[in-house]
């Protein structure tokens, strides 16, 4: 029985090892903030962190992440919102909002690695799809969040 650590909590699962992490998070653990968009690693809606790295959970099996630490959008805000979330609100990024959990998780992972990304860094790191076309605001919000985080 695979055991994983999700948002700080150890979960032992009675489930086939080839089940994608996405469906375990959503349907078994009820963490529905992580979204299903394509199931084939092409859109990024399902992005979570595995040991701090951004990972597309639709294409990662539960067997792949046994014993690893997983963080989802639900873990981001503690007593207050994460600076990336705050930037998203300040710039009114979301439209339908469906892609935004994935966008935000991809962004927090990027900023943890690279506190001052250039536009090219952003283009290379954030390849998620937003069908509502919120890209300009995403870029603006990433720069704003990065600045706020650098300046503490």
């Amino acid at each position: 029985m695979p055991a994983i650590k999700v948002n700080g909590e150890v979960r032992v699962l009675d489930i086939e090892e080839d089940t994608p992490l996405l469906w375990v998070l959503r349907d078994t653990l009820g963490l529905v903030g992580t979204k299903f968009g394509c199931g084939v690693s092409a859109c990024g809606a399902c992005t979570v962190h595995v040991n701090g790295e951004p990972v597309r959970s639709c294409s990662t099996t539960i067997g792949d992440v046994a014993g690893k630490e997983i963080a989802t959008i639900e873990s981001l805000a503690t007593d207050k919102l994460h600076p990336v979330q705050q930037a998203w609100i300040d710039h009114e990024v979301p439209q339908c909002g469906y892609c935004q959990s994935g966008m935000i998780m991809a962004t927090t992972a990027l900023l943890a690695e690279n506190p001052d990304p250039t536009d090219a860094d952003i283009d290379a790191a954030i390849t998620n799809i937003c069908r509502c076309g919120t890209y300009s605001r995403i870029r603006t919000a990433i720069h704003a969040a990065a600045k706020n985080m650098r300046e503490g």
Partner: protein
């Protein structure tokens, strides 16, 4: 005009009356306040069908329109809160139940013929008829960029009525004249005594009073919310993962369903091995559908695996040979020999073209497109005896209610529809296929809640597509180079007919329909001899409403061809259009503004180009200038888009800008990559790798300028989409001399 208004209204009335079967006819005496009161929780009191107030003063606004990213929950609440005079922080929104009080009258009115005075802001008899029909059908839908136009009067009115009743309640409590009482920020206070009571304290008494007939509404100069940058109500939940979309609906003991349906258009279920499927891990039930099977399991992943592995056979419905080549050929043949409807016939274009001349002739073509909403299609349903509950991200709850009742053979009154947030809609979520499937599946596991979820492949292969279309133009210029005669014949499937047939299979008659010729027949340019026709084509590919519908292709066709004429006349494309807009000062203003904002007259380096397009849709005027660069490998890069919008009054400016940005990306994605093709009767694309999207790395710079004039309020959700393809194509011509007459650009090797 080839179509008389009477004939049009008659056909609409027949179709409408057919749709009315199964509906409760208007009950004039009904207290519509109770409709919203029935949804009350925790001591909430409804003051009318739109407003509930609880003891703490929290105001809940009924939102009968779908929130699919366009910010409509916020905008509707702003209309109410403005007149109610309540603190914005105490306002929240709840999806409205299905009822005729929430019918979208404007959605039906938009279908009136182009020449009906309604489109110029008059209250015509046709408009009144459509309003009546909307109520009869309880046409509670979100589409045609109509939400604000429809809600502008009734929702401000609801706020003003409630405010009046709250003031009356305070006056009667204090035994003072109402004229001495003042309502502001959720509190009524008395001038002389300094007494005050909150709306929460007054709600119960206020609800028992008779609403005023025509409460005075504020002057625009006094608006505190309308037109101001009001923070959207849904943004925080959409950054924390807490917003509930259809896929997120949860219920104890919920089951999950996945489908395996005939890949061929119009295909059906032949046989399947139920015994083999129920033995698969987690499987609880198998439901037969007309087009295939659904597997119900204890998790979606297990349901999906079982559905994929299920032994199942299909009939191809005789469409196994259908392919894109044949479809494009049929469109071409239909232009030549089809039987068209004429949507505009000014002067006598036929006669002009009888004599041979130096005509400009061109044909354009666009492919089928998928909606590809980010949230894959889904619907959760529970059938318990006669009672049906549906939780669904949908754009037409009245239709879902009707279809569910028909599948389960029960009364519409027994069906409850709950509308969640929509992870994109774009017209796809006005379709009832998911609701029908979900109810069929739920009937196989009575008393259980089942969440039906399609995979991305299911969605892309079983969409109701934006029609493929072809357009032929012929124009003759006068001695000044102006178009003296213009003939345009479009051919393609008609979304309204396809949509109606999915609800009533007997609706097979071709009727005149704006959605196929909009953006072409109603163009503003002064051309003395002007004929626009559309040939309806029948094909087994289901087509539907796709963000901006007919405008999405007619804008590309007409605004590209207009550019061809400017080139033929040897004139600047901006000034050429300008000269044809006499009598249209509002169009001119938008065009001039975009030209100056984009610095149209500044020369560009070689290898770069600029294109312009102007287009009216859904009551709003939009002009765009696109700037492109030719890359060393001869592909095109879109650098910048400048966009000017006149949508009449703006409710929430930032939301309007966001919608335009998004609509440009939507249109651009289609122009660059969008193409759904068929082979052996089935759609070839399945997922994003083969149906590519704009992403951050190829996102152009977009500048949106709002230039609201005194026009009547126009739509916003769709209007940014139509002009981008022609602006881009015209820029490519400017940069390369190559005229793009077919989309997507990737087909011509123009996309890197």
């Amino acid at each position: 005009m080839a179509i008389s208004r009477r004939k049009f209204l008659l056909t609409t009335a027949v179709a409408g009356s057919a749709l009315a079967v199964g509906y409760v006819v208007l009950k004039p005496e009904e207290d519509t306040r109770l409709v919203f009161q029935k949804t009350a929780r925790g001591g909430e009191v409804a003051l009318n069908a739109w407003i509930k107030i609880d003891a703490s003063g929290t105001v809940t606004v009924a939102a009968p329109r779908a929130e699919m990213g366009q910010g409509i929950y916020t905008a509707l609440a702003m209309l109410v809160a403005e007149e109610l005079d309540v603190d914005w922080k105490s306002v929240q929104v709840q999806d409205a139940p299905v009822h005729q009080v929430y019918a979208n009258r404007e959605m039906l009115r938009a279908a009136l013929p182009f020449e009906d005075g309604y489109h110029q802001g008059e209250n015509t008899s046709g408009a009144q008829f459509m309003g009546w029909l909307a109520e009869l059908l309880s046409a509670q839908g979100t589409g045609g960029s109509t939400s604000i136009r429809d809600a502008w009067e009734p929702m401000r009115n609801a706020g003003a009525c409630a405010r009046h009743m709250l003031v009356q309640a305070a006056a009667s409590k204090w035994n003072v004249p109402a004229s001495e009482c003042l309502a502001a920020d959720g509190t009524v206070s008395h001038n002389g005594s300094g007494k005050s009571l909150s709306y929460g304290d007054l709600a119960t008494l206020a609800a028992s009073l008779t609403p005023p007939e025509n409460p005075p509404l504020k002057n625009a100069a006094d608006y505190k919310l309308i037109g101001k940058a009001v923070p959207r109500l849904d943004i925080t939940d959409k950054t924390t993962g807490r917003a509930t979309f259809g896929v997120d609906v949860k219920s104890d003991g919920m089951l999950y369903a996945a489908v395996n349906v005939a890949p061929v258009m119009g295909g059906s279920l032949k046989s399947y091995d139920r015994e083999a499927i129920v033995k698969m891990p987690g499987v609880v039930a198998v439901a037969a559908l007309p087009t295939g099977i659904a597997v119900v399991a204890d998790s979606w992943w297990r349901a999906k695996k079982a559905a994929d592995a299920a032994p199942v056979d299909f009939e191809d419905g005789g469409n196994g040979d259908l392919d894109s080549e044949g479809i494009y050929q049929l469109l071409e043949d239909s232009i030549k020999s089809g039987d068209p409807f004429t949507y505009r016939d000014d002067g006598d274009a036929d006669k002009v073209f009888e004599n041979a001349g130096d005509d400009v002739v061109a044909s354009y073509q666009v492919p089928y497109l998928a909606h590809a909403c980010m949230e894959p299609m889904n619907c959760t349903a529970r059938v318990d005896g006669d009672n049906i509950q549906i939780w669904m991200p949908n754009q037409a709850p009245f239709l879902m209610r009707y279809l569910a009742s028909r599948i389960a053979d029960t009364d519409v009154e027994n069906v409850q529809v709950f509308t969640t947030y929509l992870g994109g809609g774009f017209g796809r979520r006005a379709e009832g296929d998911l609701a029908e499937q979900a109810v069929r599946i739920a009937m196989a596991v009575p008393g259980k809640t089942v969440k039906l979820l399609w995979s991305r492949e299911d969605d892309m292969r079983h969409d109701m597509y934006r029609p493929a279309a072809r357009s032929l133009f012929r124009a003759r210029l006068d001695d000044k180079g102006r178009p003296f005669a213009w003939f345009n014949r479009i051919a393609g499937q008609v979304p309204t007919k396809s949509f109606t047939q999915r609800i009533f299979d007997f609706a097979t008659v071709d009727m005149p329909d704006n959605t196929s010729s909009e953006g072409s027949a109603d163009m503003p340019y002064a051309i003395p001899n002007l004929q626009v026709q559309h040939v309806p084509v029948d094909l087994p590919v289901p087509v539907g409403f796709w963000r901006s519908v007919g405008h999405s292709y007619n804008a590309f066709f007409t605004e590209s061809f207009m550019d061809e004429l400017a080139h033929k006349a040897g004139q600047d494309p901006y000034k050429y259009r300008r000269d044809l807009l006499e009598g249209h000062p509002d169009y001119l203003a938008v065009l001039d503004k975009v030209a100056s904002a984009a610095e149209w007259d500044l020369p560009m380096n070689s290898g770069r180009g600029r294109g312009i397009a102007l287009h009216e849709s859904f009551g709003s005027l939009v002009a765009q200038v696109a700037e492109v660069s030719v890359m060393p490998d001869d592909t095109i890069q879109l650098d910048r888009v400048v966009c000017v919008v006149d949508c009449g009054r703006v409710i929430n400016p930032d939301t309007v800008v966001a919608q335009i940005e998004g609509a440009i990306v939507y249109g651009l994605t289609a122009a660059l990559y969008g193409e759904v093709t068929l082979k052996d009767g089935a759609v070839e694309q399945g997922n994003f790798p083969d149906y590519e999207m704009i992403r951050l790395n190829n996102m152009p710079n977009i500048e949106v300028i709002l230039a609201p004039s005194g026009r009547p309020i126009g739509g916003i959700g769709e209007v940014g989409t139509p002009p981008i393809a022609p602006a881009l194509a015209n820029a490519i011509f400017n940069a390369t001399g190559k005229r793009v007459r077919e989309l997507p650009l990737s087909k011509a090797g123009l996309v890197g």
